[in-house]
Symmetry: C2
Subunit: 346 residues, 2 copies
């Protein structure tokens, strides 16, 4: 039976939510990943050191680590939640105080996606300069949801000029273009040394055809929306060939089933429990399995400068039946059978 | 109070379905329209004279016209269902026999939309020639769902070459480009004398942004899918300026609520009961109310050569609260208040 071993898999863009949902989804990622960059778009968003520490405690608690929850300094052997702040214009002194507790700061344009109402309304360089320079000095990466409020198929491409402005004005700042979906964003990677990207599983697999080409598929509806076939090809090209500036970030975004299957469906695809299996199948189908390690961990370690504890995940080409639900969340490929499964985690 | 009178409104593209759904929706159109071109994509599709006559009987029955249902030759004072056949390659002798019972033949590419599995798989001129020439001779218009099986945003534009092939090879045949959604289709109108078009209400009002730009809106999901802002502008331009080759065809397509709000939502927007009210508001907003009569009836009468019985519909600028449901169907603008309402029908 074909098998493949991944070392220290990392999910560099993850939504763990809070409360009951956090308890449902956190163990599904911690089981197979060494760590994940946890998004700060809670209600209210994470904007203080205290909120970061409290959220980390709740994540530990959701993982059943009660002792750890009381002692954040204790090493976590198996899963590290890399915490983030919700971007606002922060003082340098605050950033110095919080730098050891966070892996990145996540910038949302105001109102562009779930719980982003408190985001940035205008990209005014002078207003943002002090914060972004301090982040560059302190080596705090800026993660960006890069979409304008334009026509849905153009939003990411239209945002490229803002990436160019940020990248050229703040050369010391590492800027991560999150969940890129277009050829336009792929082309930016080789244009600015300080631009990086995460790519989701679902944007590697689908185009708008899969969401709205046949029947409408609410469980595949996400932001940014899946784009054109040539965009997907561009993503596949850099991912399968292990472009060193490209990392896996699932953007796994759970919503309760009723919020997906209703009149006015929320954006987000839930992929956490099936991501590694499907990535193995995808890379294997293209004969590129040896490149998966870079995409799933090595590139992220270099870009973020992180050293996760040792973890080995063995995948085998053996069927995995995806559950219809995890709690009240419907995963991608619900009820279908995947070609690869996780056989061992050490 | 502002008022506007429409004479003999016609809906040149309507889905009445069958059974209980037919009973729910038929009276909603017959109330305010003089007639409607009724789509033949039932299961099985309408392909025989007997099926045409039987369906017409069922439509009359759904309108409570029991006597008429027993005597199809009796004139219908208030609402005329203009019947259609589902396109197949038909013999001339069959077409001669059925010509007086139908207003048009509707061509679906195989599998392109609801109940279109028996449609045309390849557009082979020589195979289709006898049928299309006979239709031209007998003055039976060909209505076409013009989409390829390509990427969802390109399907209509890609179909233009097939329209060009049909229009240039069969100059005597009137070809109706149904429910056009793109600038590309609008441009075809002035290129071939025998190409015409219907435009829906919903494609005048929305772009893909309204379907999938914010939350996903299953009740606005339809085929062809709503396109880009510049496409909508092109449609508005010809419709508001009463282009003589453009007719109103609602493509009002009811589905039960559960088939819309589920995992795998059916395509179709249900607009029959609100179309005239919203068209008045739209034309009035652009100062073009005087052009609505051509779009809603006069152009269709010329193109199809039909003379509906007299009917006068008076609309007033007075609020209309759209019901949440008609039977188990959710209409466009469910629960919202429209600016115009129907005050009188004679």
């Amino acid at each position: 039976m074909k098998s493949h071993t991944l070392l220290m898999p990392l999910d560099m863009h993850l939504h763990l939510r809070d409360g009951v949902m956090l308890e449902t989804v956190a163990p599904l990622t911690s089981y197979s990943f060494s760590g994940a960059v946890v998004m700060p778009n809670l209600v209210p968003p994470i904007t203080t050191k205290e909120a970061v520490m409290d959220y980390k405690k709740r994540i530990y608690a959701a993982l059943g680590r009660v002792e750890e929850a009381d002692d954040l300094l204790m090493a976590d052997d198996f899963f590290e939640p890399y915490m983030t702040l919700f971007y606002q214009n922060y003082d340098r002194s605050f950033l110095e105080e919080v730098v050891d507790e966070i892996a990145a700061i996540k910038l949302y344009p105001a109102g562009i996606t779930t719980n982003s109402e408190g985001g940035v309304s205008t990209f005014d360089l002078e207003t943002m300069r002090a914060t972004l320079e301090a982040m560059g000095d302190l080596k705090i990466p800026l993660c960006v949801h890069g979409e304008t409020d334009g026509f849905v198929m153009d939003r990411e491409a239209e945002f490229m000029s803002i990436y160019e402005m940020l990248a050229s004005n703040f050369p010391k700042l590492k800027i991560i273009m999150e969940h890129i979906t277009t050829q336009a964003a792929v082309e930016m990677l080789d244009k600015y040394p300080n631009l990086y990207a995460t790519v989701t599983l679902h944007h590697l697999l689908m185009t708008l055809d899969d969401v709205a080409g046949g029947m409408l598929q609410p469980h595949l509806f996400c932001k940014p929306i899946a784009k054109r076939p040539e965009d997907r090809e561009a993503l596949l090209h850099v991912v399968l060939n292990a472009h060193p500036k490209v990392m896996f970030g699932s953007d796994s975004a759970p919503h309760p089933q009723h919020a997906k299957e209703s009149c006015g469906c929320a954006a987000g695809v839930f992929t956490a429990p099936i991501a590694l299996q499907v990535l193995c199948e995808l890379f294997d189908a293209y004969g590129k399995l040896d490149n998966l390690q870079q995409f799933i961990s090595d590139n992220a370690q270099s870009i973020y400068g992180i050293c996760p504890e040792f973890k080995e995940v063995v995948l085998v080409e053996s069927p995995f039946e995806v559950p219809e639900h995890y709690g009240n969340v419907v995963p991608m490929y619900a009820g279908e059978t995947l070609a690869w499964s996780i056989s061992d985690v050490e």
